[in-house]
Symmetry: C2
Subunit: 656 residues, 2 copies
Amino acid sequence: MAALPPNEQTRVDMERARANTSFDVSGVRDLLHGSYGFGWEAHAKLLTVVSREAVVNKAGRPFMSREERYKTGQAVIDRFNELRVEHGWSDEQLESALLLTGEILPSTLHATAFLPVILRQGSDEQVRHWGMLARARAIIGCYAQTELGHGTDVAALETTATFDKTRDEFVLHSPTLTSTKWWIGGLGRTATHAVVQAQLVLEGKRMGPHLFIVQLRSLEDHKTLPGRTIGDIGPKAFNAHPATDHGFLRFDHVRIPRAHMLSKFAQVTRDATYVAPPHAKLSYGGMLYIRAQMNLGGALTLAKAITISVRYCTVRRQGRIGPDGLAPAVVSYPSTYHRLLPVLAKAYVFNIVSRDLLKQYDAMSVRLAEGDASLLPETHVALAGMKVLVSADVLAGIDTARRAMGGHGFSEFAGVGALLAMHTPAVTYEGDNYVLDKQVVRAALKAHQLVTSSGATPPRGSFFSFLATQRPVSLNLGDTHDLAKLLQWRAAHVIAGVVRTLHPNAPFENDPGAEARVSRAVTEAFIAARVADVLARTDLPGGQSVRRLLHLYLLTTVETALADLATVVDPVALRAKVGETCKALLPDAIGLTDAFGFTDWELDSVLGVHDGGVYDALWERARKSGFNDVGKEEQATYKGHISAVLRRGSALAAKL
Amino acid sequence: MAALPPNEQTRVDMERARANTSFDVSGVRDLLHGSYGFGWEAHAKLLTVVSREAVVNKAGRPFMSREERYKTGQAVIDRFNELRVEHGWSDEQLESALLLTGEILPSTLHATAFLPVILRQGSDEQVRHWGMLARARAIIGCYAQTELGHGTDVAALETTATFDKTRDEFVLHSPTLTSTKWWIGGLGRTATHAVVQAQLVLEGKRMGPHLFIVQLRSLEDHKTLPGRTIGDIGPKAFNAHPATDHGFLRFDHVRIPRAHMLSKFAQVTRDATYVAPPHAKLSYGGMLYIRAQMNLGGALTLAKAITISVRYCTVRRQGRIGPDGLAPAVVSYPSTYHRLLPVLAKAYVFNIVSRDLLKQYDAMSVRLAEGDASLLPETHVALAGMKVLVSADVLAGIDTARRAMGGHGFSEFAGVGALLAMHTPAVTYEGDNYVLDKQVVRAALKAHQLVTSSGATPPRGSFFSFLATQRPVSLNLGDTHDLAKLLQWRAAHVIAGVVRTLHPNAPFENDPGAEARVSRAVTEAFIAARVADVLARTDLPGGQSVRRLLHLYLLTTVETALADLATVVDPVALRAKVGETCKALLPDAIGLTDAFGFTDWELDSVLGVHDGGVYDALWERARKSGFNDVGKEEQATYKGHISAVLRRGSALAAKL
């Protein structure tokens, strides 16, 4: 028999697991926080400030109505704007602080879409005027692109901005029901202004989508201005994003000054002449900003989920009692660690590669601001491929983490459900994944065509450099360089295979899943090359464990690609190597998750508590559940309905 | 340019798609409803009655608090129990009517666990007494098995039922925090009685888990009886199952008469003698009932999701304008139909195979009641494998359906999110999928061992008959019989491969994903054999279309198994066949979903409306959203917080 009651044993288990850690956790924490962003110290300082704010009230969320979640969110924004002044926070610090609450707020789109679009697409004067007001939050903005009938395809947008030369104004109008702006975060009840994507109509001619700043609500009393019909589009699936007022917006001939068209690139002159941008793609760069941010956001969400699951599975015991009088820890079963450790590896890889890609995006932005779009195509395809792969794998990984926790993973108090709900739309917004696949494939086929027809080798380090990879002559599964090369060759091999099946009129009819397969293979080649670069660093912290974890990422990626690699990889040897690597990593699982640096306040999970006391935590929260201690409500339901059922049942039973 | 506004065009599109149907929908509807259960006509009649009941209030659900969902659920139960008397419904009709509301109610576990356990495990007298009271709803029951610290493994349960010979009573007790009963549906605020799984302790000796009927609340005033601590465990992830009060329960030395131990099989006599059941597994049969029901429930949930998604993707248009002045329907893209049609195929296959398996379960139950457990092992392994596969694939399929709808699929009004939330726990409850995998694998390895060591051929038609399948010498991808044989050989091949890697002390360490892979291969072989049987029927309704759909199921199952079939299947030819089959099916997609027979009331989805008017439906529901028309609330948030942010911002802007 166990010496301790099971609820106390969990703390001992966690302490032991933590003590097993073979490497210096702080070094790895710096790696995971350091390569882009504030770095660990500044992050930890901000977190301390934020987590002292009672207004955030994480524990209360599961019991709030949507109205309460929205109001609490507004109170948080208000308080954090106050803190910003108090602490002299930068724009980035304010947004990071708001992100740390774990709630998607109506202000999120102000910071990630409204403001950046003005800064990137506005003329110098517009940046000075509107950019300053937006940065100060003297106005609150939203970004109105998507329409009821049109999503990712901006060319199809129906909203019009017709130039009225006589009055030097644009007239914004929604000609149809389907042109209603829809899904606009922060619009429903909050924003005072919008950047609106609309078809510019000049002298009767449609000039394609352009951006316009439109005031929506009065700055005096917040009332909706004439000609705008605004509302909230209703709740989201899984009760997700309840604090955000995704809205709809219809224009009935709303007039704005000509100066409200964002005109860093394209312009309309007083005499209705269209001044085209110097490069057709210049205005596209700004839209990539959210995608670049999304990858890191996804990586961090996955890190939370896997931390919770690894911790719980370390202290949860189940199965045949061993010589120590205890059932084995759930994490010690091959069928469990084989699920969790590859997800942990992804949380690391996505974190590192996303930060790299943010640096690449910044470098491109600098060039773009100088009118140089040369880095755009590479960055665009990398971000499209990564957005698809990271958003999908993060969603799948969170779900794997949830399922590994068995029944308790379905409790809202486990915290993983909320992470999954929050991340769910990432696969369909900011470019639907299956639409972005098409863009990656188009670029891949073009690059393939160039290489095969001209024999040109793609430049080393470029996105499509893998196209030059030769079929591996030998494969050492223990050699991460070999594995990265293998994944690069596989991408070239998949593209070549798809090219052979292309139908002249309907390209993918002979292989309808080809686009998703090519997009994934290409992006996995890109990631594998980055991972190999990281592994080449001699100063990589975390010793053998971090190296093993990245190695595991490559091995399990190869495992999912076995159907493409039948002639090159022996599945039995590969699976044995995966098993061996997992087993070697297992003693460091807690250390590797600790290295993310999440506090209990951040995770807000009874199953992911740092000290392992999961049963006490679950019991405490259930006892305080807002659905208990409601004596009056309970009696009302009994008297109203339950007693009626029982009375009817008694009468019926007497007759049976 | 299109002649019609986009919102009206959708209705024309739907009408045309429906008119394209090549087969008689009513025949297929009968197939999908007929082989087990009431059949279509009786179902439709019940549905008409139920959907007239305003108390159900589907449209109101997204705006209700949990308290309101619970209360509304109780009101529905009350009203439906009244209707039962009015219409003379059978037990099955009452439960079907409640299921048709689409809400998981506190009464669900009464009907699917409490009552069946009494009927199957009670002595004749217990069935007469308790069974009658439960059937009439003169008592309301729950089924208390899972504990805070113990899930699928009943042997580890800590709750004790100690026989006190002196008073001829059992004493129920929860010795630890982790022995608290947890996740018990209907317990938190509703049930008057429970069937409790507890360790029988007889003269100081633990006799393993047995079942006991315990009263929880007074039938006079519904107050909790002494010695019981009861409460609700809190909300579930994704706001799922909000109308059900999953509860916790602790016993402090609660005494019940000896007659309250369910004693059809095992018994305790007045002098504390244990009378063992004639067959150790006899009591196990009852637990399989929920699994058998779950498969059909999952199939129907998937059918709803795919109906909604196929309908929406048929009328949603996107992309380059064609010669008809319209963008193509989203469903016409290979990357879309290649995702949706295989899910539709699964909704058919799971429906048909689940109904077959319910018949098999019933046949086994009849034998079991006669003390004959000979059919149990086969049925057990089939239900375990199917539970794992169907629950996981339904969840994945609903998600595929949701994602294919792009952004709007994330609206709660789309209805698919609620289906996914409702189905989510199916992969971890009633036997966690990864624990059930182990049971399937154990049986598979045993059968393999028998066949290889003795050379015995498993009986034709038995679950493991595929073990005798020879490696196919030729493969015609157009021949469904060939494909079924291929999947059967693949299962035998996967098992043989895993057997070679087994580690003597830690069986799956060399291949930690082996259990999940074997379980899936084995169950897919089982399903493929059933599908081949169905295709052998000459009277199969639905003409070529239903045949093609089942064919597609086999093809895409082979596609997911390519890593196991590298030496046998040419991936290029297979994918081309998948593409060809999808394309041929596409014109019948609407007809094939119509054949499920769902009404708009049942689907409760703005994107799945029968007439295709999706934009009008979305607009109407958004306008009526409970988060709009809240002038007072809106002004309060503005005055409380938004204005403060703006004022602070103005002051800040003045300084910038």
